[in-house]
Structure formats: structure tokens, C-alpha cells
Amino acid sequence: MSMDTSNITVTSGQSCMPPVQEGDTRMLLTGNHAVAYGAMLARPQVVPIYPITPQTPIAEKISDLQLSGEFDVDLMTAESEHSAMCACVTASLTGVRVFTATASQGLLLMHEMLHYAAGARAPIVMAEVNRTLGSPWGFWPDQSDSLSQRDTSWIQYYCESGQESLDTVIQAFKVAEQVNLPAMVVHEAFYISHALEPVVVPSQERVDRYLPPFNPEHRLDPLINESWGAVVNQDMYYRHRKELTESMALVAERSIQADAEYQELFGRSYGIIERYRMDDADLAIVGFGAMCGTSRVAVDALRAAGLQVGLLKIKLFNPFPTEHVRAAIAGIPKLMVIERNVSPGIGGVLAQTLKANLYGMKDAPTVHSYLAGVGGLNVPSRLIEELAKKAMADEPVAESLWQR
């Protein structure tokens, strides 16, 4: 990889700027362009892709990097997201590393093949840019698209910055290829996808040390003569799904390990969950994605006002890291989930999932669920502060409450 670094000032020691190591490049990138660099550094050999707002800058950047010769990749311009995912599955099963990206309706069109990819144990990594689902049409940040695919057996990581998305794409390949499951790296439309921030693009040499070439033991090859996909009997299907579930159960620990190795090589770490000012908290805000950045500001303000409030960020949403979350909230009496999605009839998907995972926990906290920012509405830190005060005063109710 060659990058023009002449106009980039590298300054270390600024707390607001990510640290830079030798060989790294600091660039001003949108979240989506950061994802494209992350994908390039992971060296996928085939990228089947189809354009959709707000994913397109990822596809465009990859095309530019390919044209300039920086990214040696076969970019397949598919005629639909469905076909893009079909090609991802077979390219992976035939033995190469595969990356793609989509959003919203595109993800839904892929739905059938998402299940197929996981069933085929294809460790594809896909960036997913959260966008509202039609109808009616909208282009706004809303997590309902990726959350509606929770049950497709894909690993799901939610990111809150371009830097985190870049780093997570690289980490996701590491985890996916260890457990033979596909992984989705999710960030929200515009708040992350189109917002410019300083991003450290790590050196190719170091990424190569972190991520070994993909060389699967099983693959479609006339010299090996193994097949995939034929009809199985009930017993085989049962065992297949059980094995898939057992692999999924490894993801949390493998993700922690991949993140720790990343920290060692690159100096950045995220964890599968993050505790922010959780000590002695009377209330923990629980969220994922871009909401976490705003929530940190709210937590700081609440703490300054003398209220004991912390933030628990859920980065790994599927598989849900039950034990880690339970340990992180132990002793805290109240949780407040604030999320930018809704499943009508259910409420907030994170709240629903969280409550299910607290079942049977001794002294489990109560959960207050707020639907804020659905449809891409802005959620200022002031609103989060108000909701936190409300949650601290109110008795919990079963349903998710609409808030703006």
C-alpha cells in the first residue's frame, strides 16, 4: 500500500487524536472510507458488491483504491445484493477471503443468503450501514435493518466511530476465520458513515502480521472433491445446527482475544463491551453504536451534577455476551436502554435481548427501555440526561417508551 502522507501532520500525545505508530498514517476519513481502508488492509481477494445509499462510499472507495493499484482485488459489480451475497458464499467456499458491504433494503434482499452463508460456514466479513427500512422510504440512521437479521447466525459488532469500524473489520476477519462464521460490522448512516474524523490507518506490514492469509481446510476443489449443500437427514441437520451454535459460543472469547492482540500490535482496543464510569453507579445507560458517544457526554454531565450514572456499551451484540454483561452490571440496581430501532409488538430490540439475558440473575437490575432516535431523529445529550433522571425516579414498566 502506498499513501500520500506529505500533507498529513502526525502529532502524538493529543488526547482527542488516536495514537499513531511507526508506519501508520493518520487521515481525515468518513466512517465509510475508514471501512474501505480496513477492508483493503485485510486483503480480501474477491469483493462482490452492489451500491445502496448510504453504503456507496465504501464501494466507491474500494473501486478507487483498486483503480489506483493500491488494492489488488477482484471487484465484482453484482446486479443485486442477493447475487453479491451468493458470490460471497461461493468465493469463500472456494478458498479466498471475501468482503462486501450493504445497507437497509440491500441487507433485507440478502436475507436468504445470510442464512445460507452461515450454514455453509463461510467466514465472510460485511460492513452494514444502518438505514431505515421502507415503507415509507427514508435514508436515516436506524438500526432496525441489522437487528432484523439477528437470527441469521451472523456475528454482529456495532461501532461508534470510523476508527472503530476500520479496526473492527480487521478484527472481524480474525474471529470469523477462527470460528467459520460470517461477521457483520455495523455502523449508523451519516452519524458515522459520512462524518469526517481523524482516523489512523495502520501499516499493511503490521496488519499482515496480525491477520494470516486465509487457507481453509475444506473447500470446493476438484482436487479435493468435497461438496456442500446437498440434502441432509434430520439427524445431520440437528448436528449441523448444534455445531454452528457451539462455534457461535466461542465468539465472545475469540473476540476478546483478537482485540487484545490488536491492542498489542496497534495500541487500540475496544472490548466486546465497554464500561464507562460504571463504578458505584445507581443507573447504567446501556446502548450500542453512535448513541454511546452522546451517552458519554451525558454521563459526564450527570456525574458532574452528582448523579451516579455510567454507560455500558454493547459492541458484540450477536452472540450476546451474557456473562460479560452480567458481570459488568453486577450490583447496579437500574439499567436504562436507549436505542435507535423498534420492533413493533416487541419494542426496543436491545432492551428485549438484554432482559432475556438477565433472566435468572440474582439481584438482577430493573430495565427501563426508551425508543429514542428512531427514524434518525437527533438524540442530544440533554435528552439522555433527562431520560436518565426519569428512569432513576420512575418504576419500571414492561414496554419500551417512545421519547423525543
Binding site: V46, A84, G95, G229, A230
Partner: protein, 304 residues
């Protein structure tokens, strides 16, 4: 240049006996000539269809090559990812063969097929055309002929069969051919020709279905020959979307000789048979006209 009338079939042992096809199945015969011509350096992509049944259930296989069973609409896209992956690994010599039914080709699979054709993806795509969803109990597909009775059009299909060969030729892909099991030398020659070419090669092979068409278990070959001789299904090739060669076609035999062999056409009255005869004559004339179209290539236009 292979003499199309004196082609000697060369079979490699890829397709095994003991498969799951119905006794007398036309499709099993087609698969034999296709696989045994393609050879062992091949991966087959198979969507849900009778072919998926014939290829066998886990852990058995009637095919001595790797097979990948994909979803019904996804064959061409699945083949695409496979071939591109192999090329990236320096293994572009491996043949990618799609064997799909007409439902997976004419109907639900046409988007991914059209996309792959537009990109001129490197594969041999064979559609085994039994003119309906025979694997699920003989429902109508886009390939079912006008007036044919199926379980979803018991009174006869009210619309015409799609012309998939013309649709594919309109993509200007390197090779399009029609074939049928009644002429195995013609079928095997076309598969061999397609195998040795590059880009999208498409063959639609008429394969009578005993149960779906209502014919005896020794009739598949005879009925498929009648389809050709009555002009119902002429055998021809199209190269680069414009160079037409007719291999076999209408011999003047009335279409009734073909229709009367099959239960799916038993309900037709003389007027309907006359309509079908007219349709056959018109399409046969159109096809012959296409072979006579001559157009000098423009010097600035490079074909693939």
C-alpha cells in the same frame, strides 16, 4: 472444425449409475452426456430441481466431482463467485458448470443469469428444460408451452413459453445453443464446444418429464425427437448473439404427432392444435430468417 453430424461422443466417468432419477427419466440421460463431456476438472452448481435429487443426498453423490447446491434463484451468481475465486488462486482452468432446471432459469433465476451474462462471466450454464416445476408436482413455469396442462394451469397455460435462447442471445454472449436428449451426439458436441470456449456459454436442453408430461417410461427419447422434427423445439446455435446455425429442425411433420404423445396436451381441440401449428410455423420461419441475416461487422466495433 467438428463435423456436427459425425460427432463421436467421448465419455469420461463422472456420472454414476444408481442415482435417484425416475426410471426412464430424460434428465438423467442429459446429465450423463453433460457431466461425462465436461470431465472431472469441473465443479457443478446445482439449484433446487430434479437435478439436486439426482445428484444425491448427503453423504452420497452420483457425481464424481464437487457439487455446490445453491438456492433456486442463485445459480449464475454462485457460479460467478466460484470462478472468480479460482481465477484469483491461479486455478482458472477449473470448469464451472451450472445445471439448473427451467424454473431456476426462466423464472426465479433470470435476474442472476442476466447479470452474469451481461458481465460475460466464465461458466457453462445448462438449463435442463422439462417445461415446468416438475420436482414440486408439475406446476407451470415460464417455460411451459402455450395451452399445456399443469397442476397450476389445469385448463391449459394461457400464455406462450418464454424464448430463453433468444433472451440469452440478446445478451450477445459467446455461445447459446438448444439441444435435447433425442440427439445425444448433438448434445455432447455442444457441451464439448461450450467447455472449450470462454465467457458465458448457455445451453438449453429439452428433457421430457415422464410424470409431468404424461408419457410412458420408454418414451422420453422418442418424444424429444418429435419435438425437434415437428419444429416445436428446433436445435440451433447462436454465437456472439448474431451468428445462427440450425442443426436440426422442422421436417414437415405436423405438430399433432408431438402433442398426441403427451397427457398434458390431451385436452386440446382441433382449433387449439391449429393455433399451435401456426405458432410453430411462424417461429420456424423467424429462426430461418435469422440464419440468413447478414451484416458486415463495423470496423470500429470489436466483438468479444
Amino acid at each position: 472444425m467438428i463435423d456436427q453430424l459425425k460427432y463421436e461422443i467421448e465419455e469420461k466417468p463422472v456420472f454414476c449409475s444408481g442415482h435417484n432419477a425416475c426410471p426412464g427419466c430424460g434428465e438423467a440421460l442429459a446429465i450423463r452426456y453433460i457431466l461425462n463431456t465436461m470431465g472431472s476438472n469441473t465443479i457443478a452448481v446445482i439449484p433446487p430441481s430434479c437435478i439436486a435429487i439426482i445428484s444425491g443426498h448427503q453423504p452420497y453423490s452420483s457425481m464424481r466431482i464437487p457439487t455446490y447446491q445453491t438456492t433456486l434463484e442463485a445459480s449464475a451468481a454462485s457460479a460467478t463467485g466460484m470462478k472468480r475465486s479460482l481465477i484469483r488462486q491461479g486455478r482458472g482452468d477449473v470448469n464451472i458448470l451450472v445445471i439448473a432446471g427451467d424454473g431456476g432459469t426462466y423464472d426465479i433465476g433470470i435476474q442472476s443469469l442476466s447479470g452474469a451474462a451481461e458481465r460475460n462471466e466464465d461458466m457453462v450454464y445448462v438449463c435442463l428444460d422439462n417445461e415446468g416445476y416438475m420436482n414440486t408436482g408439475s406446476q407451470k413455469s415460464g417455460s411451459t408451452p402455450y395451452l399445456a396442462s399443469t397442476s397450476s394451469t389445469p385448463g391449459g397455460k394461457p400464455t406462450e413459453k418464454k424464448d430463453i435462447a433468444e433472451i440469452m442471445a440478446a445478451h450477445r454472449v459467446p455461445y447459446v445453443a438448444t439441444a435435447t436428449i433425442g440427439y445425444p451426439d448433438d448434445l455432447a458436441r455442444k457441451v464439448a464446444k461450450a467447455r472449450d470456449m470462454k465467457g458465458m456459454r448457455f445451453i438449453v436442453c429439452l428433457t421430457p418429464c415422464l410424470a409431468g408430461w404424461g408419457i410412458p417410461d420408454d418414451a422420453a427419447v422418442r418424444v424429444s425427437r418429435l419435438a425437434v422434427e415437428t419444429g416445436f423445439f428446433p436445435l440451433y446455435e447462436v454465437e456472439d448473439g448474431e451468428h445462427y446455425t440450425i442443426n436440426r429442425g422442422h421436417t414437415g411433420l405436423p405438430v399433432e404427432r408431438y402433442l398426441e404423445t403427451q397427457r398434458r396436451f390431451k385436452h386440446l381441440d382441433p382449433d387449439q392444435i391449429a393455433t399451435l401449428q401456426g405458432q410453430v410455423e411462424h417461429k420456424w420461419a423467424l429462426l430461418q430468417a435469422r440464419t440468413k441475416l447478414e451484416c458486415e461487422p463495423h470496423p470500429e466495433y470489436l466483438t468479444r
